[in-house]
Symmetry: D2
Subunit: 347 residues, 4 copies
């Protein structure tokens, strides 16, 4: 079969590889019907994720069809249409027992396209299938569901739920790339009074408006602190969500939040930030970090099935699975192409 | 009357000043029967708290007797024995309505010995008396109650409750000064499996043991991370409480905590710290800061009355009120004198 | 001035009474600009609330203008447009400190039109004004705000928040009178997947649809359990809200709820219900009751100001203040008149 | 092998049966080293649990040694000493994903000695072994651990944690049989101010004192409401835990609880109770029910290993496994024998 293989920093190829086979009684083999590319895949290609070894098939998001299952698998069967999540869960360790699947100690966590071969292929082996794939309800679009493999639960859990967004609150979202937009769209489940999107690119701020931000601030030009102070009687945002991953945006979030508020970090960081404890120690702030756990994936599927989540809006470009190389080019040049998420489908 | 007056950096005197008078219908005048000195008072004397103006009477902790009350005061009356809390609360603003009295927007918060004259005097005016003093139950020792003016609710709320200590957990407390000890003593309300006290002074670690830590680590000599890893199957502490107030100890806490754990900062910081988001972003940690809100003060009084809180153990030195200057000397030289808390009493 | 006076069971009159005067430093006198009638007022008139004494002015909901304030009142001043809440709060007792204002032990709670004279008058004395009235933001309609005096915080706190409605969940609301509709409208703040309104009157079910229920069941005709089973894979509703106040509807709620779900009782009951512990003991259900605490009133005002709460839709009939007797007749005959809430305004 | 077999109401025998065999890849066969008898087993023998069919081996609590495991089992291996829990968990369904293992929809829940053969035998087949047995740490006594199979997590989760016991609170526990004692012993993890044990048998109240109740009331003689009112300024208990299972004791709990308090039902009920909504509707009470979920079992094991849980105190009588019939007699006649829990051990 064909797959997107990493061959060390800067090198990827769409090439012929052996089909995956069942290795454990809890495995499933899934035919990939729809797959997407994540910003993390680009990080891997830069060589920033050293535990990914050359020869690895990338990708951790897919919607597909179950082909075969190990004998211990009971919740899905061949022919089922399933969501393959970015997080695999052993379902047995102390973290999985507590719903913190992303921190799985039993061989799960983020492993697909990272520690084992991933989804950017015609087929993928999914370990711990019973607790790592989700059967899709009838009437849910596969392409919409694809957005629930990573981006939507990440924005929702790590941004909105960790940030404890509540009705009427003012939420600042710093960064309007795909993850920031996922936070913006899911923050609306809790009816905040205002969602303030902050970014330095006008095009992304346009997208933020389309996804539901009622106020946008280009912080290359304007001071978001002033705008938020106007909305909050000078107090600051109830919740500030970091969706970029650089020190400056994290520090901005800690400045924008009101006493007693929440800073929810979603961004993937490569460098330390400065934490201004000399002013923050007295302000009762809560700062959270996190990899997605995907405990919310069934809830998001329910929202999708109820027609309350316009997940397909993330998909700006569509390709056939064989167009993987060009899809990578389009996604990697998002600044020019305007790509949010790309969807590659079996034809 | 006599009072301890701040006259600018490095200058204090125990001198004659006018008696306080009622200024608002919600005020009370309280005779100070017992008062203590806080590390913050020493910071003020160093000039580190610039909003404290020369001429200010210091002190924000006392137990005393109500002398007179304004006409709107209904919950205490002359003759009542009361705890004067470090936090005054207007009881009306959005923060007070939510129990976050330390963040009061209506003229309260930490004001005594800071923005208005304080408790290191023969009498003190307490604004918003109904929501800022606590009538003491019979049978509760005044000196024990004095420890509830600041140190115990601070260690409990900002350390233990913000850190969400739960039965069976491993709690690391970095710093075994009075605030760290307050966290150690109140953490036991939640029956952690282990309390690991970490400090660089053996004398303070002895105190930590006496207050209930079952494991102590001198981090001038040993690596607390190794000891905690042994206790936690390599995962790290469930809760790490910072009770020093310097960057190194805060950063230590973020290294000691397990994925999914809590770092509760209690220390008063004068400088920023480095937050290692490049490793923390993926670890689901929660970091909290806070000034005490004193929402727990009634609960702590209940524990005191039930004989379940040995608050008097903090008091290492006792003085008459007129010995204020020597009490300051003893407290300021804690390293030599071994002072934890001093109590000055009306004679 | 004129006021609606209760003269014992079945007897009310709109008659001349003395104007109220300040009695405490914390009082305010408010001119009533808009007032409404509550189902509870009808209960009082039937003689069902024996602690209401003949001679009492009824009414516990109003929007008005502050005329005078006691000297301890600091958050409102003469001329301010304010919401007079059904709950007065001393702001000092253990319940008020915890935000449970409805259970106030310091002389507050539901007192207006109950233990002291109420709002169905040209003027009303409001005790504890700082913690019992809410200054209205500019741009908020007074008539819309009137719905925040009782009905909306009641449906929201006692129904939606006690019931812990979450995104994607199925919420059953039994009873589509004003309180049920208040639960339906505010449940939408949490984006449930389905809101199932259940009632025996088609006209009320029409209202339920207009207020946001996506499914309605007339339980004089159909079994709501069957409809909810279809929506929930046979499990039952995540949340069942009782908004009638008779044993049958409460018992229906306990049958409709899924294992692990919440039953939130909002209805005012006059008789005991049967609790089927022989089936419920094993089902992990949570049942809550409550008088409104009004801790959510500021949040609801924020939602109103943000244009996210169509509160005026409750008002089906408008009158001048002097038309009080006819307004009572219209409201008391809701079955014929279709009245939800009536608004009487100063002219 | 030998096993205790149910042969219809009133009939049990300790008889020869075939050894269990692996039936699924997720099964384990465990040699029973220690087993106990539960009050529920007596109910089954009375015929009160009709889904238990004649021929069924009873028992849902054991500590044993793993003999063989199915090929999908990864967390335990032959030779491991394990706790066999009363709750089996598929680990895959929506309830298991949320930690509500007792409500498992995937074939687990309470099945041992109920829907499949149980632990009162020389060997037992345990389905879903990875999520249904717990490897015991070295240094933990097997007999102490046996008390964690059912009674301790039940009292802790369904009583103490559902009841939200907090430091300083007054907790009423109605019923001082084994389950009530389990609530009393684990309530102490949260340092309540008072634990009031209520029962009609002096011998059980003596046990309650030994397990940590500081106040006992024989409600055949005295009114517990009066004693609790004295302790709580007339308000009532913060938490009332029902540990009997008859309407009278449940109704007593709803009378004893303060406004805003929690009633946690632990008792197994066979009849409905009367819920006095005519007085409770206004009192902000929360009532919970539940089968144990065993999410707390690892925490309880930690407490046991830390020497903070005197679990062995429950065991009043010890037998060899072959003495099963006499052990049943002793346990069934607890009133005369004073039995709390019996332990039967392989010899």
């Amino acid at each position: 079969m064909k797959a997107l293989v990493y061959h060390g920093p800067g090198k990827r190829s769409w090439e012929e590889v052996p089909r995956p086979e069942l290795q454990a009684a809890t495995d499933a083999i899934v035919r990939v019907d729809h797959v997407t590319i994540c910003g993390t895949d680009l990080h891997i290609l830069k060589g920033d994720v050293p535990e990914v070894e050359p020869g690895r098939i990338l990708g951790h998001e897919a919607v597909g069809t179950v082909l075969t299952v190990g004998e211990a698998v009971t919740t899905v069967k061949p022919g089922d249409r399933v969501l393959v999540s970015c997080i695999s869960a052993c379902g047995r360790c102390r973290y999985c027992r507590a719903g913190s699947f992303g921190q799985c100690l039993g061989g799960g966590g983020w492993i697909l396209g990272h520690l084992i071969d991933g989804t950017q292929a015609e087929q993928v082996r999914v370990p711990f299938a019973d607790t790592s794939v989700y059967k899709l309800p009838d009437g849910v679009s596969s392409e919409a569901a694809l957005m629930l493999a990573d981006i939507l639960p990440t924005g929702y859990e790590v941004g909105v739920l960790n940030g404890r967004v509540k009705p009427g609150e003012t939420v600042a979202v710093v960064g309007s790339g795909p993850i920031g937009l996922a936070a913006i769209i899911t923050a609306q489940f809790y009816s905040p009074g205002h969602i303030v999107a902050i970014d330095m690119a006008s095009s992304r701020l346009e997208a933020a408006k389309a996804f539901g931000a009622d106020i946008v601030v280009n912080n290359a030009i304007d001071d978001p602190g002033i705008r938020i102070a106007e909305l909050t009687a000078g107090l600051g945002a109830d919740v500030a969500i970091e969706a970029v991953g650089v020190p400056e945006t994290f520090e901005l979030c800690t400045r924008l939040v009101r006493p007693g508020g929440h800073v929810a970090n979603v961004g993937v960081h490569g460098k330390p930030a400065t934490l201004h404890l000399e002013s923050l120690w007295i302000r009762n702030v809560t700062i959270t970090t996190g990899l997605v756990d995907t405990y919310s994936t069934p809830d998001l599927l329910t929202m999708l099935a109820a027609g309350r989540l316009d997940a397909e809006n993330f998909i700006t470009h569509k390709f056939g699975l064989d167009e993987m190389p060009v899809a990578y080019d389009v996604f990697a040049n998002a600044q020019d192409t305007g790509a949010l998420k790309v969807a590659l489908s079996r034809t």
